[in-house]
Symmetry: D2
Subunit: 346 residues, 4 copies
């Protein structure tokens, strides 16, 4: 009954197998390995972006911070949601990699709205040397509250950015989960929607530790390579990053895994609904934010269920109080585990 | 015939096996996995340092830059060899992580001497606000030219540092190779010799991509954890770093691998000596710096041998010119490959 | 009719005279001049802080950014008002000098409340390596909206900070104006109220360009000196900064100037009140935030009055619309100029 | 008998007079004052550079660090002399402002030679992501050892830089002294010789604290303005920087002051020569590096002469030992003071 995060689950066998098979003799280090050529081709094909510059790093924070830094000057502001991972969970890595840039957070009830984004950008006066200058917009898809930006909303957000000539970054730690939820193509959710650079997540969806950074404008390539090396994120035995990503892409495993995770979340949500839980919003991808009584939380806790309370504490006297739970489902979760979880609601 | 680097070889089966076996169900992320407990214990035992703070990162540059930054203020100078990896091969990562600190390079014919180190440190006036302040001393063991600091020399270098109250970092990307060459214990080559923090390499000696950072003063632990996260070097699926290091340490594999690599280098050097090559200095660990005629380089090149010329170019007319080769041997190199390499000297 | 800022007025003759008189022969550079000794003594006496470390820089942004950086690690959060100068008007200087720290802004209707400050600090979990750590609290006195924190409020804010062991910075660009408004002593508004470090403004109150940074904990002295030099803010001909500050402190000129400025603002506010203007809040120091009809703005504008509209534009059709003006009075403003300004309301 | 530095002398009356006269009523702050227009025009005329972007800051370190940062990426190397002010006397300010760039120092017997510069630049491989990339070349004119680069040498150095497409910065803290020594025009010593950006010193030559940064390529203007503000180096009461520079330029005062300083140095050198002193090299501008016996140093020291020993200590037993003195002459030095100094050689 592990719902704490999708970053704690196992590596999918197909991916592990590619890693094991990559361990054959010598390979040119630092990203020049032939498997990386395969990865680059596969991503370019999947994204219908034959010119895209494609790089691998091992953590999502590295992907985000390096991608943003490549599009941000130190005297600029990065616009993001108030619950964005880059703001809340990266210990100032974006500020560090961007040389001291500022994050301006946008109040978001659920997904960021174009109006809220515009209201955050507009007051900045680009001719005023005293205030931080406008910089990139970062959108999280799936959001940290489990919502999925519709393609319409994505396009509306990037249109606001383009009104001000600002680049757009997509934090796609759960890229595949969002794509499956939207039933769209990678291109539709990125460059066709106005996105300039993507953190394309692998780790949370069955890999060991690999994320791709995809630039649709290849002129950013060399600067990114230098930033990656200077950030100590260039692997010598890079083939083992390449192998993970190759295994992930092969036969659309990445989509299958995301579908499995989303289906698990839908199954869980349906069970919770029946059991009387209240939702922060309708679950869309692989995360469920639900409220149910403290006494149920207690039972689950004692039974060893693992998940985060997102706005409350288990300790307290009111047994009927509705505490919020963040329940994350990964591809490997079994229906048995979900049924066992739901069993404690009876 | 791959002698280009020890970072291009395969992962040792025992290590890969631990990685594969680690892939079982859910594991608490971000370094709280139980395998990390095993790793911490094993390193503390091996280093006779029961209080040491032990952390894992995936690249040598991360280990070096984060370890140094923890001991360096931005207005200080890091003292290192003019051929140190941190100076020549990390694209300003140490400067980046240390917030703009300066590297002062020490001329080194072979290994850094205490006299040269003192001559570099002494002129800095700690009461002068205009010049950069004295900061940590970084020693590379094995050096980038393949030499090994004797324990006497190490102790003499750290004594100079201690005369000025400066902390000492050991870049041990090839830690095991040096230890085997010196036939000493980990403690003798580190804290007993006056070293404060070690980059303990795994990647070049049979791992996939893992280095330990070992602080003998555990009061640095929390700052390092924050720096690692902010540097985007904290892995969510950390168990796969832990598993590598656990496999590496198990049954002294790390020492066996280093011995195999050093033996390969000795065998190669002996063959080269017989063939009339000249050495930059007597090979001590797993790197051989040797000079031999251009025509032999040509033959080797055509036969597919891979290695770097360290101070010359293959192009040229003088077939008898003695060009310098850097020949790195890893644990996996076969005697057949070496013999085949040597065969081109006939 | 210049009400745009108190940083555009002339230097007080007593201060200019000290600058001119300082120009006598040679003086030891870089802050070792004898006039600095006089300044240090005068500030220590005025603040009843015989151990305080006292330094001079030439801009308010330098004072703020260097003071905060001395109390902030790069992985920490600085807590400040959403309208703080350090957030809105320093082009990421605090982030730059603090190595990439984050500013967390606190919604403030008028002055920051202890409740709002606590609500901003509390959610940070100091044991969580993922989120930025808690860092210094910065309070602006006079606020950027012209309000003055009462001593009670100041003490309540610093009590919140102390609950979390956080240091407190006071941005006192208009320190004297606040002190006069509160009719209190420098010590009461700083260390007796729980403040650790002050940016003590001179430039806006009759100096040419000088601000003092006062640390009540002298153990921060040497680090600040290094940060000041590294930030290129250490003056060689420092005597001319010292002379300004000496002239400013001499005979309590700083208090007299502030009183004159505050009296000017009170006189202006009274006239505006009679003329029917509405106030953002009751003017307390030397800034008046008032609303009056667009047609009056137009007349003033045409007559050459200089001030900022803080939330509206002069352009527009509704002549009766109440537009907000920020009217800043300095010590040098004449009653004639104010009367002339008020004359346009008739 | 003050020969310690040219940054400890008085402000020239003509400059102080302009400062005093600038103190008239209100002036638009932050560099928009009308005196700045006058300064910009005067510098553009003097440098025959009608498009140049011209800015003022208050310290030489700020001018150097901000100018270099504008031409340097954090992963690049700045090439400079091993005795350059930016390397030895700015407490890592260039590294700080350039986001962690590296300084590579070039061994210089006296002035930097084109051969030594090329030898430092050439080994960097621009396609190698591991090593720092090539960045700007910084030349100091007058050098920190008192020498003046000939126009031929300057052109040869910038030609090397241009061979590698590298920008060239001139640290002209003593710009006027060099120009007088070479009897050339400002343009000949800068853009006509291949220089891209100049730190044009005022402080050491009669100003209170002002340096101009002159970009011959105006496309760098806005970035510099943002960097200056973010570095806390934009003055609100900027007119007092402008007034200094206006007074400095008026009627070629800057040239007259430099000529006076250089003549003082020549007079001093001649006296020293007659007295048997040995020179590090023939004095060219306003600094004399001379060796004379310890016993003379003792007499001078006791008589209150102020100067630095550059490679020795006064303490010692050998009264005949030849100790090196750095003797800096400014425009204000009197012949009486020099004669009095020389009198101790008898």
């Amino acid at each position: 009954m592990f719902f704490a995060s999708d970053n704690a689950g196992p590596v999918h066998p197909q991916i592990l197998d590619r890693v094991v098979r990559a361990n054959d003799g010598y390979a040119i280090p630092y990203g020049k390995d032939p498997i990386m050529d395969e990865v680059r081709d596969a991503i370019r094909t999947a994204f219908e972006a034959p010119e895209a510059a494609v790089y691998l790093v091992a953590t999502g924070t590295a992907a985000n911070a390096l991608a943003l830094a490549t599009y941000c000057q130190p005297w600029q502001t990065i616009f993001c949601s108030e619950v964005a991972h880059i703001h809340e969970d990266e210990c100032n890595a974006p500020e560090f990699f961007a040389g001291g840039a500022k994050l301006k957070v946008i109040p978001t009830d659920d997904v960021m709205t174009p109006e809220a984004l515009r209201a955050a950008i507009a007051p900045h006066d680009p001719g005023d040397v005293h205030s931080a200058q406008r910089g990139p917009v970062s959108i999280t898809q799936v959001t940290e509250r489990g919502s999925v930006h519709s393609l319409e909303n994505l396009r509306a957000l990037t249109a606001v950015a383009k009104d001000y000539d600002l680049p757009v970054h997509l934090d796609g730690a759960r890229f595949a989960n969002a794509m499956v939820a939207l039933n769209c193509s990678p291109a539709e959710m990125t460059w066709k929607a106005g996105v300039d650079v993507v953190s394309f997540g692998g780790t949370k969806n069955g890999c060991m530790g690999v994320e791709a950074v995809i630039f649709f404008d290849p002129s950013k390539a060399w600067e990114f390579e230098l930033r990656r090396k200077r950030g100590a994120h260039l692997f010598s035995k890079h083939r083992f990053l390449s192998a993970q990503m190759a295994g992930y892409l092969q036969g659309d495993l990445w989509i299958d895994n995301a579908r499995a995770a989303n289906d698990n979340a839908a199954y869980l949500a349906q069970g919770l609904r029946v059991a009387g839980a209240k939702f922060l919003h309708e679950p869309q991808a692989n995360m469920v934010f639900a409220r149910f009584p403290r006494r149920v939380h207690r039972k689950l806790h004692e039974a060893g269920a693992r998940y985060y309370l997102w706005d409350a504490k288990l300790e307290g006297n009111d047994e009927d109080a509705m505490l919020g739970a963040r329940l994350v489902c990964d591809w490997s979760l079994s229906r048995d585990a979900i049924d066992s979880f739901l069993g404690h609601f009876e």
